[in-house]
């Protein structure tokens, strides 16, 4: 296997290589394969093109065929910072209702998880996906799979809620909350990026909050390694 590579480039080519060096049946096979491979490549490129192109006459009629070809492995999105770059910092903040060891309950202040990501990224030449993508994209996923009234749309919505809870619980593990988290509430704070100093634009940079309902934390919300204060409580 792989011995074709042993051919070592041109040196290994037998004389008369290529289609000219083949017998007639071989040539016919080669031509058939040439046509098939050519068609396949063209079709693939056409499908990928239609996938990245804006909605248009063809995709309105044959969108299903394009999707069937492209998904799941050839999906792509190259609208990098387009049509407009994101112009606000979206922070995910959480507060927790903690059951203390003595049986009392307290509610923490707002903990800014995105700010923690930001702090981890600052001064870091090689930010990890854990810092740069996990919460950021997880939150996008959550927002994108919920409607305006904050109802999850189907499986993706439900999965995204659990995903966000699990990320939060993982992050809260690093905070000493003095007990186990029973419930949590999340809010997002979107603050517009200030206008450039050389610009005359006026942009209100005060954060716009969006508050989400309290969630009860249960066992499925705990990634492994997250003790949620229980062992400490036992000690």
């Amino acid at each position: 296997m792989d011995s074709y590579d042993d051919r070592g480039g041109p040196a290994g080519q037998p004389p008369g290589a290529g289609i000219a060096g083949l017998s007639l049946p071989g040539q016919l096979t080669a031509v058939v394969v040439l046509v098939m491979v050519g068609l396949l490549a063209c079709t693939h490129l056409a499908m990928v093109f239609l996938h990245v192109a804006p909605s248009n006459t063809i995709t309105k009629q044959h969108g299903k065929a394009v999707d069937a070809w492209v998904y799941p492995e050839f999906e792509q999105n190259w609208k990098l910072f387009a049509p407009n770059p994101l112009q606000q910092n979206v922070a995910v903040q959480v507060r927790a209702e903690v059951a203390k060891d003595d049986g009392s309950r307290t509610t923490t202040g707002w903990i800014d998880l995105s700010a923690e990501d930001g702090a981890a990224i600052r001064g870091n030449p090689l930010p990890s996906h854990v810092e740069q993508n996990e919460l950021r994209r997880g939150w996008d996923f959550f927002v994108g799979s919920h409607d305006d009234k904050n109802r999850p749309n189907g499986l993706r919505g439900q999965l995204s809620e659990r995903y966000v809870r699990r990320i939060v619980m993982l992050r809260l593990e690093n905070h000493d909350l003095g007990g186990s988290v029973e419930r949590m509430q999340i809010r997002s704070a979107a603050s517009s990026v200030a206008a450039p100093e050389w610009s005359t634009e006026k942009i209100d940079t005060r954060p716009v909050y969006r508050l989400y309902p309290w969630w009860t934390v249960n066992a499925t919300d705990l990634p492994r390694g997250v003790r949620n204060g229980r062992t400490e409580a036992g000690r």
Binding site: P14, I19, L45, S128, R166
Partner: protein, 486 residues
């Protein structure tokens, strides 16, 4: 949140991977109102036309003109009546006789294998959080999503941590071996397995960089990317040198023990996987796995029993055809990336008013060096020039392929911009991946010089003077014949 102006998430990237689960979803979870309904700017029309051209001739022209660094001036002039036919004939001969762009495909291989390897090494401490069965995106959550989107991942075969560690190790090992070109084709398949397994397992962890690696990992399987700068090529050169000028290609197969062993082991896995119905995912994937596996056996047998026979010649032709088509797809894919990125930007008000570049630099998630970003954004004129420059380069790139010199200038510009993005936006792996993709358009002359320098450096640093000549020689005297090719 819904009332926001149309904005796009930075680099968002492998979005949900869910086709038509619900309207409007699927591509770009967050890029809210992309230019959806507008059909004015059909970004890729020229592109589509371009990439849709007849394979042979297009490729002949491409290969003659760009990657190899020589203008296609050497074409013979023939009688006008037969000129077309002769050119077509020559093109067919060319795409069947040679796997074009040996240096370009090798640099793409090295670039992507290296990027993925570095990424995996860097994320080693976080691997379980990112892809492990008990990470925030847990195994059974992934299971539910994958059951619906049908993506391929070996990580769904078991929820045990041991299996996860095995797959992760395979991903790292195959990247390293693909990088050095050891059993290149086999490693490319394992590399694809690793990439798809990890990325599809946790799709919400990825970004644009992962997305390019994902695509290229698939395309690379179809290329002969180990023709140069690989251990395979070195082994071949040594065998050939040992045999002197009149070498027989077949005899190497006879002495090769590792190849058949590797093939056998992977075959067992493949059979088990197929019988237990584990090779799920897109229907073409099992076809690809089995196809490569069977092709390897045929190639091995042809080399062993009839090294100069017709079957081997035919297999060689078929492999060249597939390689050349895959290389065209890789090139076109890079063009699609830039065309999409560029044309969509044109429609954005921030790209129009020349301030767009300022904003990503002010996002906390993309600001590893706020002071540096601040320095760059302190001048409105510079921001505006960079903003316009970015769009111009991205939109122009596919067309610049028609002119070699312009193409090279834009290529340098794009690589520099990606280097800048790596530092300023803290996206080193994304940038590395994009540079690796760009590299498919580097001229052969440059690549060979680069290879020569690297070899020389290696030589000076790590080897005394022993006889490393056979492989050295490979890169020089033989090559002139090669330059026209790719």
């Amino acid at each position: 949140m819904s009332g926001r102006p149309p904005v796009s998430g930075p680099l968002d990237e492998q979005p949900g991977r869910r086709p038509a689960e619900q309207p409007g979803e699927g591509s770009g979870e967050r890029s809210s109102g992309p230019p959806g309904e507008r059909s004015g700017e059909r970004s890729g029309e020229p592109l589509g036309a371009r990439s849709g051209g007849p394979l042979g001739e297009r490729f002949g022209e491409r290969a003659g003109e760009r990657p190899d660094g020589r203008p296609p001036g050497a074409r013979t002039e023939s009688k006008p009546l037969f000129a077309v036919e002769r050119r077509a004939g020559r093109a067919v001969q060319r795409v069947t006789a040679t796997a074009l762009g040996p240096y370009q495909s090798a640099v793409v291989r090295i670039g992507f294998a290296g990027t993925w390897l570095l990424f995996l090494l860097w994320e080693l401490p976080n691997r379980r959080e990112l892809y492990g069965p008990d990470g925030p995106w847990s195994w059974d959550m992934a299971q539910q999503l994958i059951a619906r989107n049908g993506a391929f991942t070996g990580l769904m075969w078991s929820d045990s941590t041991v299996w996860f560690e095995i797959v992760f190790a395979v991903a790292m090992l195959s990247s390293a071996l693909l990088l050095v070109g050891w059993r290149t084709r086999t490693m490319s398949v394992l590399f694809m397995f690793g990439v798809l397994s990890l990325q599809n397992r946790s799709i919400f962890m990825g970004d644009g960089g992962d997305n390019v690696i994902h695509l290229m990992a698939i395309y690379l399987v179809l290329t002969r990317c180990g023709q140069v700068w690989s251990l395979d090529a070195r082994r071949a050169a040594r065998t050939a040198a040992r045999r002197g000028a009149g070498h027989e290609p077949g005899a190497q197969g006879a002495r090769d023990r590792v190849g058949p062993l590797l093939w056998g082991c992977l075959g067992v896995f493949l059979i088990i996987g197929t019988v237990t119905d584990r090779v799920q995912g897109a229907p073409w994937l099992p076809v690809l796995f089995w196809g490569v596996w069977i092709a390897q056996a045929l190639w091995w047998a042809a080399n062993l029993y009839a090294p100069n026979g017709q079957p081997r010649a035919l297999l060689n032709v078929l492999a060249n055809l597939v390689h050349n088509a895959a290389l065209v797809v890789i090139m076109a894919e890079v063009c699609l990336v830039y065309a999409t990125a560029g044309w969509y930007k044109i429609q954005g008000s921030r790209w129009q008013d020349g301030t767009a570049l300022y904003y990503p630099l002010k996002l906390h998630y993309f600001a590893p060096w706020p002071e540096l970003s601040g320095l760059l954004t302190s001048s409105g004129v510079i921001v505006m020039l960079l903003t316009y420059g970015t769009v111009a380069v991205q939109v122009a790139f596919p067309f610049a392929l028609l002119n070699r010199r312009l193409k090279n200038v834009l290529l340098v510009a794009m690589m520099l911009e990606h280097a800048g993005i790596a530092v300023l936006l803290g996206l080193p792996f994304f940038s590395l991946a994009m540079i690796a993709a760009d590299a498919v358009f580097l001229p052969t002359g440059f690549l060979r010089r680069l290879g020569g320098e690297a070899a020389g450096l290696w030589h000076r640093l790590f080897t005394q003077d022993r006889k490393r000549l056979p492989e050295q020689r490979r890169d020089s005297p033989e090559q002139p014949a090669r330059t026209l090719v790719g």
